[in-house]
C-alpha cells in the first residue's frame, strides 16, 4: 500500500489522521489555513464582546461575560495547538494575522453598539458557530476534531447566556424590546453569511468534503441554523428582518431571502466596519505585551541557570 492509499483508507474507514501520519501536502495546507483562521477568529472574537465588559448592566452579567471572553482565549489556544501539530508555529500564524495575510471570520468585523448585541452574539453568532463546530467534531484530522469536542461543550454556555440576555430584554420595557429587535436586525444577516458562499460558488468545498475535513455543505448548515433559530426568535417575540422568511411545508424547512453578497465580499476583502480596528488592536496588544514575555523568559533563564549552578556545586 502506498502512503497515499494508506491515508485514503484511514479517511474512508472514518478513522482519524494523526500528526505523524503521512498526508497529502494539500490536506496539510488546507488544514493549517482553516485551523489558523478558526484560531484567529476565536482570538479576534474577544474584542467585540470585551467592548462591553466594563459596561455590563450588572456584576453578575459582567462575571459571565468575562468568563465567556476567557473561554474564547482558551479556544484560540486549543486551535493554535492543533495547528502546530501540522508543523507550523503559533507565532508565525500570529504574525501572518498581524500582517493582514491571514483572515478570520468576517462576523467579528461588525461593531457591538448596544448591550443587546452581546445577547445577539451569544445566541446567533455562537449558535452559527456551534452548527459548524458540531460538524467539525467529525473532522478527519484527530487533533482538530478533539479540540472541537472541548470547544462545543463550552459554546453551549455561550449560546444560552446570550439567549437569556435577550429573554430579559424582551420581557423588559419597550426601549429594551426595541434594543433587542435592533440587535437582531443588525446581526441576523451577518450570522447567515458566517456559513460562507453558496455551495455552487464554494470552490474548495468539494475537496474538503472528500477529505472529510468538512462533512456538511455551507447551504445545508445555513438551513439547519435557520430552522433552529426561527422558533427561538418567535419565542422572544422578535421579528426576523427578512420578509421572504416563510415555513415551507413541502420542504420541511424555512425558505429565506437572499444574502447581500456584495456586503459579504466587501467585508471579506477587508472593508467591513471594523476590519482595520480589529487588527490594529490585536497587533498593539501583542506589542504592548512584549515586556511581559521578555520578563517571563528572563525569569525562566535565571532560574534554570541558578538550578544548574547548584547542581554544578554539588
Amino acid at each position: 500500500m502506498t502512503p497515499e492509499e494508506h491515508f485514503e483508507a484511514i479517511v474512508a474507514a472514518e478513522d482519524k489522521i494523526e500528526p505523524t501520519d503521512w498526508m497529502p501536502e494539500a490536506y496539510r495546507s488546507t488544514l493549517i489555513r482553516q485551523i489558523a483562521q478558526h484560531a484567529h477568529s476565536e482570538v479576534i472574537g474577544m474584542q467585540p464582546e470585551g467592548n462591553w465588559i466594563s459596561r455590563a448592566p450588572t456584576l453578575h452579567r459582567k462575571a459571565i461575560l468575562m468568563a465567556k471572553v476567557q473561554d474564547e482565549a482558551g479556544h484560540g489556544l486549543y486551535l493554535y495547538s492543533a495547528a502546530e501539530t501540522l508543523g507550523v508555529r503559533r507565532d508565525e500564524l500570529q504574525e501572518l494575522l498581524h500582517q493582514g495575510k491571514h483572515k478570520y471570520s468576517s462576523i467579528f468585523n461588525y461593531p457591538t453598539l448596544s448591550w443587546a448585541d452581546i445577547g445577539a452574539i451569544g445566541w446567533l453568532v455562537d449558535g452559527a458557530a456551534i452548527t459548524n463546530q458540531v460538524m467539525l467534531t467529525r473532522c478527519s484530522y484527530g487533533p482538530y476534531a478533539r479540540g472541537m469536542v472541548r470547544i462545543c461543550k463550552e459554546e453551549s454556555f455561550h449560546q444560552r447566556q446570550g439567549y437569556e440576555i435577550l429573554i430579559r430584554l424582551c420581557q423588559g420595557s419597550p426601549e429594551q424590546n426595541a434594543m433587542a429587535q435592533d440587535a437582531l436586525d443588525r446581526w441576523w444577516w451577518p450570522s447567515l453569511m458566517m456559513f460562507g458562499p453558496h455551495d455552487t460558488d464554494s470552490t474548495h468545498t468539494e475537496q474538503s468534503m472528500q477529505w472529510k475535513i468538512k462533512r456538511v455543505s455551507n447551504d445545508e448548515l445555513r438551513q439547519q441554523f435557520v430552522d433552529m433559530t426561527v422558533p427561538q426568535a418567535d419565542y422572544l417575540g422578535l421579528t426576523m428582518p427578512d420578509p421572504a422568511l416563510k415555513w415551507n411545508e413541502e420542504r420541511g424547512h424555512y425558505d429565506f431571502g437572499e444574502i447581500d453578497w456584495d456586503e459579504f465580499w466587501t467585508v471579506v476583502k477587508g472593508n467591513g466596519p471594523m476590519n482595520r480596528d480589529r487588527i490594529e488592536h490585536k497587533a498593539r496588544a501583542w506589542d504592548d505585551g512584549a515586556w511581559v514575555r521578555a520578563a517571563a523568559a528572563a525569569h525562566a533563564a535565571r532560574k534554570s541557570a541558578a538550578a544548574a549552578s547548584l547542581t554544578g556545586a554539588a
Partner: protein, 114 residues
C-alpha cells in the same frame, strides 16, 4: 462556512512564508489531566510557556476552569519519545497470534465460569 473564509480572486490556498522571527522560543508542553481519583492521567492538550511553573499555572487556567481535573502534569514536548504505527508489531501479525486471547480456549460448560 465560518472558519473557512473564501479565497479572493488570485489568492492562493497555500501557506504563506512568514517573516516571523523565532519569537520568544518558549518551549511547548504537553498537558495531562487526571479527571478524578482512581483513573489515569489523560493527554488533554498543549501550550507554550517559559518554565514548568508557568506551564502549570497556564494549564490550570486553560484546561481545568470547570473542574475537569484533580491532578495536572506538564511535560516538555521534546521529552516525549514515541513509537508510531509503523514501529509497532504488525497489526496483522499480532492478530494472527490468536492463542494470546483467552477466548480461543475451549473449556467444557460443566467446568463453569473460568
Amino acid at each position: 462556512m465560518t472558519y473557512d473564509v473564501p479565497l479572493l480572486p488570485g489568492e492562493s490556498p497555500e501557506i504563506e512564508e512568514t517573516t516571523a522571527t523565532a519569537g520568544e522560543g518558549w518551549p511547548l508542553w504537553e498537558v495531562f489531566v487526571r479527571a478524578r481519583r482512581g483513573i489515569s492521567h489523560v493527554h488533554i492538550g498543549s501550550l507554550h510557556a517559559p518554565d514548568p511553573e508557568s506551564a502549570l499555572q497556564n494549564a490550570r487556567d486553560v484546561y481545568t476552569r470547570r473542574g475537569e481535573g484533580v491532578s495536572l502534569w506538564v511535560v516538555p514536548s521534546s521529552e516525549i519519545h514515541a513509537f508510531e504505527p509503523e514501529d509497532l508489531v504488525d497489526y496483522v501479525e499480532a492478530n494472527e497470534k490468536v492463542y494470546r486471547h483467552a477466548t480461543t480456549y475451549d473449556i467444557p460448560d460443566e467446568v463453569g465460569h473460568m
